[in-house]
């Protein structure tokens, strides 16, 4: 049996089409008034729902139609004020549920930047100045200089699990390259660092704990760096709280080793000096 497509008047405007079965059922239930203007193909003028002759009495709703989108639409259009409030409360509940997931998603995508901010905070608190920062949202680079002795520390942070699902499975993984550099007043030392940089480039993959070397003749810095993977969740809680002490301890350990390596390799006379 075919059903007719019904247009009804809502707030003075035609609204539809609606399935005839759904309209008839709402009319019978009292959700729609019989005075509501109605029209279907074949009629020359608008009439009322009450005046629409039921072609086949009230057709039975097809299976599943009670939960259909059109059915809901009609229910809202014709709902009494009490029903409207119930619908609005239900809608608010649905939105509130989404917010929880939305917040988790935002946290997962932003935790790398929270880690970056924490690194900046710790380095500046310890007397270094942020002298370079670039960021495209997922790949970040920050470089610091301790103005007293011109030593530099840099971090390249790359977010590996920016989605909530990936973070749930693997944790909030970030690739962190930590570098340490010193201003060296010796041409041959910088030249040696550049030669070592070339050899470092021959490494196809930096294995855990591998320290590579870099030299910059223009600024006269020799750098060493190490590739690490950190779980940002170890330092940042779901409530956006940062464990600065833990992050600072881990950062100190890495910088200490890099400094020791650089000085042992290029400045043996100062290898015993310390401090981040």
């Amino acid at each position: 049996m075919s059903t007719r497509a019904i247009w009804i008047v809502v707030d003075g405007q035609p609204h539809g089409p609606h399935e005839e079965a759904a309209v008839a059922r709402r009319l019978a239930a009292g959700d729609l008034s019989g005075d509501v203007g109605a029209w279907h193909e074949g009629l020359e003028t608008w009439t009322t729902l009450a005046a629409l002759a039921p072609r086949d009495a009230t057709p039975a709703a097809p299976a599943g139609a009670a939960d259909g989108a059109i059915d809901d639409s009609v229910a809202v259009i014709g709902a009494s004020s009490t029903d409207g409030e119930a619908h609005e409360a239900a809608f608010a509940g649905l939105v509130r549920k989404i917010w929880k997931h939305f917040d988790q998603s935002i946290f997962a995508s932003r935790v790398d930047e929270v880690l970056l901010g924490a690194l900046i905070t710790i380095m500046v608190e310890r007397g270094s100045a942020l002298i370079d920062i670039t960021s495209d949202g997922s790949n970040h680079y920050v470089r610091f200089e301790r103005l007293a002795d011109k030593s530099r520390v840099y971090f390249k942070v790359n977010h590996l699990t920016p989605s909530a699902v990936a973070a749930k499975v693997q944790g909030h993984l970030v690739s962190v390259v930590v570098g340490y550099g010193e201003f060296i007043d010796n041409f041959s030392v910088i030249w040696n660092a550049i030669k070592a940089e070339y050899r470092s480039g021959l490494l196809q993959t930096a294995e855990p704990g591998t320290i590579t070397v870099d030299g910059d003749m223009e600024t006269r810095y020799a750098y060493v760096q190490v590739d690490l993977y950190w779980n940002a969740g170890d330092y940042v809680s779901d409530a956006w709280r940062v464990d600065y002490a833990r992050l600072g301890t881990d950062m100190d350990a890495v910088v200490h080793v890099l400094r020791k390596y650089l000085r042992g390799r290029f400045r043996p006379a100062t290898a015993a000096q310390g401090g981040v």
């Binding site: 932003r110 901010g117 900046i120 011109k150």
Partner: protein, 175 residues
Amino acid sequence: MFGILANFKHAAEIRESKDEILVGELVRAMARQGYVACGFSAHSDWQRVQFRTVGDPVLHHVYITLNRMTGGSAISEALMGSQASLVVTAEVKNLVSDPDDLLAMYRTDLANLFKMPALGGIKLNHEMNSVFATTTKYVDIGKFVMRGEEGADALVLLLDGVIDALRDRLRTYKR
């Protein structure tokens, strides 16, 4: 000669980095007040940092945008210092789901399309579930960077005052 050139290059690099140094000081100053940096946009002439206002009864985020205006070169710095603008925006977020509230927000959004920000004043703006208040401060970067605790305290004081004013302006919009 090698040493002189290297030292000159280093001095220029630090001078050009003063805005980045101020960004670092901003992040540290905000962290001291309990705000957590959670978003960075870094470009050659401006940087923006987004902060999560953990535990704040009114505010959800604070955004600070730094635009360096002068001082990139030695001559410019000598003549005009290192001037910059700090655009500070505070955000109230309401989990709006009531149709009447949504309609009210929509009407305010439309009204705000035609409003220009008042110089030095606070501009309000609605966008979806958020209400924003924005103000701009013009600062001399030299007052805050490479000055140790004195500079850090001055920056905390400045930011504290600005954020307090924005919070007061937004308080009535928090549901």
